[in-house]
């Protein structure tokens, strides 16, 4: 068994990469990909800890997360298509009409 720390570090790195992607990328699809990365990073951490403590809760929760991720991607991509239809661009920096 690999050390749990390795898994956690990997999960963290992946998460940070994903967070960076969300914050720094302008392409909406790439943002989504980064979001998926973050989710999967969380999944990794969950599975690793489930294995360590021999609990089934972690594995269960991963399934939930994957389902939610899939649903969210579906909705999100639908939103992006709708936005593309109006703005002909998926640059999220151009979506600031709801400013104060």
């Amino acid at each position: 068994m690999v050390q749990i720390e390795a898994y956690v570090i990997l999960s963290a790195v992946l998460f940070i990469l994903g967070a960076m992607g969300v914050l720094l990328r302008r392409n909406a699809i790439l943002v989504f990909m980064s979001v998926e990365l973050m989710l999967n990073a969380a999944n990794l951490a969950l599975v690793a800890f489930a294995k360590q403590w021999n609990q089934m809760d972690g594995h269960l929760f991963v399934f939930f997360v994957m389902t939610v991720a899939a649903a969210e991607v579906a909705v999100g991509l639908a939103l992006i298509v709708a936005i593309f239809r109006t703005k002909h661009s998926i640059d999220i920096d151009q979506l600031h009409q709801m400013e104060g």
Partner: protein, 827 residues
């Protein structure tokens, strides 16, 4: 006889009815009827007074107190121990005054029938005259000081109405008449203020205002003496001796009673009445029933010992309190010894007397009062109203006798007034004004007499003065009437030039030579002058000399310096009196007429001249009612000091003065000398120099003095500068500046109202709108500003939101893990 005393309310009611008839129906009756009604009322009142006089004689001069019907209690406050009734008193003093008032009054009423004929308000005139009689009689018949005060002010009111009777005379004369009337009333009111204060003091000192309670004897000493005398006379009678007999002769001589034998007439049975009549002896008290025999067994007291002190009237109480001595009077927060209180009371009453009886310093109204018709001047301002002050002081003789300080002041005031007024009279041109100042002067004589304690002399002079002063005034009215007739005659018949300058029929400069035109008037005027100047044997001689004699005796025997002062001043005043009267005679009756009006003057009708004659007779013989003893045997004919003895029953301190031949002759000589001087200066054509200037005004040595007299010592002007003008200016100042401009306008309108408005403006705009609304709105603005700022957070960029979410998550994790770190650190 006894029930006649109950008639005394009639004496007031009859003139009242006369007045009411004239007020309501007089104008309708027309002609002379109002005058006849008025005069009848006066005459009836005189008859009633006469009945009362005879009653008194029959009742041995004992006083009676009568309650008028329907009207007993006047001011009654039981819880304040205050009971002042309407109560009338019939005694020798009040009957004397009643007789004078109604007697002289009747003659004046009759005179006025003719004098006022033709006046548009004829009926009103007689209504006022009768009303005057009502009030004057209330004054003299009242048994307490408040009734006297009612009469006192009431006659002041009538004086006001009558002085201002011609209030609508043209060319501003009516206004001047009304001013004179108002002046009289206001100056009188100043005197009334003093009298009121005196009355308050009297009430709080004695608890009552009554002179005497019913049954109280005014003069116990006299009553006791006379009772003793009657006893001795009865004893002598038992020895059946008539005429002069030893026991009678001895015992009859006591005190002031003349040492003549009492002649007893009628039955002298032990039980029956013992009527003592005769000449020369003073009235004796009849004692009945003391021996308990049958017949009328009414107990008659000769003194007041049986009456407890609280029940006595003010005079009786005074005597008792003075006898006991050492009494302290408490009124309000003050307390003073009784003797001091007496001085205060008498001083205040003196103030009242100076107002009513026209003494210094309140005499200024009387000369102006001459604006009224002449009968008014005669009745009110010579014979009756002005004597009310003297009456009051004589009635209160018990007070004045025991207040030495005040008596001195009274003497000075009286004598001073006599002199000053006499002096002023020398410089006057108006015939009535001379008489007015003469009245003031003679009142001064009376007041001075009161001051030195010669109460009966004062009353005697009061009576004789009423006779000859009324005579003089009415005669002057006759003269004025004659002059007016002459003036009309001149104008009607178009003699000569038509002069539009107003003609004053009262100005002596327009007269002259009327002796031939108006013989009856001339003769009675002469009699009046002689009486006034004090020429033997006219009335004034006796009364004036009694006063002078008394002042000499008082100065000599009582060590009263006031007596000497009075004598000196009064002698000088007597000189002036004779002087200005003869001046008047010269200017009016002797010499040649100086104007056409005087040329055509006419004698007055009989309805005017007959009362004059009546008064003249009284002026000639009136003095004999009080002849002194041993003077030319006159006392054999008329009796000695009858009037004094009559008065003594009411006036405790009345006494007869022995005749002083030196003083009498001296005064007579002085008067004759004054006549001579006046004759020299004014007589035989010298009456006026260069048409209208007084000879005295021309001579350099007498000119300033005469001008001072003519200007009436600038008295009225001084009063105007000292009192009237400041009063008026203060009134205007208080009313316009202080009360209206400052208090009403400035303080209430500007300060309070405008201040309140300003406060309201301030509160509504800067405070309410500015501050409070400001705060409320400010909060709103703050919220908006904050919102505006905070709005910036919503950038619209998804990435910003993502950062926020991230940061939030990090924050939450840190917070959740914080305990771990701190624990790790600490642990």
């Amino acid at each position: 006889m006894e029930t006649y005393a109950q008639l005394v309310p009639l004496v007031v009611l009859i003139p009242l009815v006369g007045m009411l008839i004239n007020v309501f129906w007089g104008a309708r009756l027309g002609g002379r009827w109002p005058g006849i009604i008025g005069s009848t009322a006066a005459i009836l009142a005189f008859i009633v007074s006469g009945l009362l006089y005879f009653y008194l004689i029959g009742n041995d001069y004992r006083a009676v107190v009568v309650n008028p019907p329907f009207l007993n209690a006047w001011i009654s406050i039981p819880s304040g121990d205050m009971f002042i009734p309407w109560q009338m008193r019939v005694d020798t003093l009040s009957v004397t005054m009643m007789l004078v008032v109604t007697g002289v009054g009747s003659l004046i009423h009759i005179y006025a029938i003719g004098y006022m004929l033709g006046d548009s308000r004829y009926a009103r005139f007689f209504a006022y005259l009768n009303l005057f009689l009502v009030f004057m009689l209330v004054l003299v018949t009242g048994n307490n000081f408040l009734m006297m005060f009612v009469g006192w002010e009431g006659v002041g009111l009538c004086s006001y109405l009558l002085i201002g009777f011609w209030f609508d005379k043209a060319r501003g004369e009516g206004w001047k008449n009304s001013n004179a009337a108002r002046k009289a009333m206001i100056v009188n009111r100043i005197g009334d203020f003093g009298l009121l204060m005196g009355i308050f003091l009297i009430f709080w000192t004695f608890g009552t205002l009554d002179y005497f309670t019913p049954g109280e004897i005014a003069n116990p000493h006299l009553a006791e003496e006379l009772a003793l005398e009657a006893e001795h006379a009865a004893e002598a009678e038992a020895a059946a001796v008539e005429g002069e007999a030893a026991p009678e002769g001895e015992q009859a001589a006591e005190g002031e009673v003349v040492a003549e034998a009492a002649v007893i007439e009628g039955e002298a049975a032990p039980e029956g009445e013992q009527a003592v009549e005769g000449e020369g002896v003073a009235e004796a008290a009849v004692i009945e029933g003391e021996e308990g025999h049958g017949g009328e067994a009414a107990v008659v007291y000769t003194n007041n010992d049986h009456i407890p002190t609280e029940m006595l009237g003010v005079f009786g109480k005074t005597e008792r309190l003075l006898e006991e001595g050492g009494h302290i009077v408490n009124f309000g927060p003050f307390s003073l010894p009784f003797e001091t209180v007496l001085v205060l009371i008498t001083l205040f009453m003196l103030v009242g007397a100076t107002g009513k009886s026209a003494q210094i310093p309140l005499f200024i109204w009387l000369p102006d009062a001459m604006a009224g018709p002449t009968p008014v001047s005669a009745l009110i301002h010579a014979a009756t109203m002005v004597t009310a002050g003297v009456y009051m002081m004589v009635r209160s003789n018990v007070f004045y006798y025991n207040a030495d300080l005040t008596s001195l002041i009274v003497t000075l005031v009286g004598a001073g007034t006599a002199l000053v007024a006499g002096f002023i009279a020398i410089g006057q041109w108006d015939i009535k004004r001379v008489l007015a100042y003469s009245t003031i002067s003679q009142l001064g004589f009376m007041v001075a007499a009161v001051g030195i304690g010669a109460y009966s002399a004062a009353m005697f002079h009061l009576v004789t003065h009423a006779f000859f002063k009324a005579l003089l005034f009415l005669s002057s009215g006759s003269v004025i009437h004659g002059m007016e007739h002459g003036h009309h005659h001149v104008h009607e018949h178009g003699h000569g030039h038509h002069d539009d300058t107003p003609f004053d029929p009262q100005d002596m400069r327009n007269m002259g030579g009327l002796r031939r035109k108006m013989p009856v008037t001339y003769r009675v005027y002469l009699i009046g002058t002689l009486a006034l100047a004090g020429i033997f044997p006219f009335a004034g001689f006796w009364s004036k000399d009694e006063i002078l004699a008394d002042s000499w005796l008082v100065g000599l025997f009582d060590n009263n310096v006031g007596g000497y002062i009075a004598l000196g001043l009064l002698l000088l005043a007597a000189f002036f009196t004779a002087f200005y009267m003869w001046r008047q005679m010269e200017m009016v009756f002797y010499g040649q007429p100086r104007t056409e009006a005087a040329e055509h003057a006419q004698e007055s009708g009989p309805v005017m001249t007959w009362p004059l004659v009546g008064l003249a007779i009284l002026s000639v013989f009136g003095g004999f009612m009080n002849t002194p003893e041993n003077v030319l045997g006159l006392d054999g004919i008329f009796g000695a000091h009858r009037f004094t003895y009559f008065l003594e029953h009411s006036v405790v301190h009345a006494h007869a003065a022995e005749f002083q031949p030196v003083i009498a002759l001296g005064a007579l000589a002085l008067a004759l000398f004054a006549f001579f001087a006046a004759r020299t200066i004014y007589g035989a054509g010298h009456a006026l120099v260069r048409g209208s200037r007084d000879p005295l005004a021309v001579r350099p040595e007498t000119s300033p003095i005469w001008r001072l007299a003519h200007a009436r010592l600038y008295w009225d002007e001084t009063y105007f500068r000292l009192f009237e003008n400041p009063f008026n200016r203060t009134a205007k100042f208080l009313a316009d500046t202080l009360d209206w401009a400052f208090w009403h306008d400035y303080f209430h309108n500007t300060v309070l109202r405008n201040g309140f408005d300003a406060l309201g403006q301030f509160l509504s705009k800067p405070v309410d709108l500015g501050l409070i609304d400001g705060i409320v709105n400010g909060i709103g603005r703050l919220a908006r500003w904050l919102a505006g700022r905070l709005r910036g957070v919503q950038t619209g960029y998804v990435r910003t939101y993502a950062v926020t979410v991230l940061l939030g998550v990090v924050l939450v994790i840190v917070i959740l893990l914080l305990p771990l770190f701190t624990q790790a650190g600490g642990g």
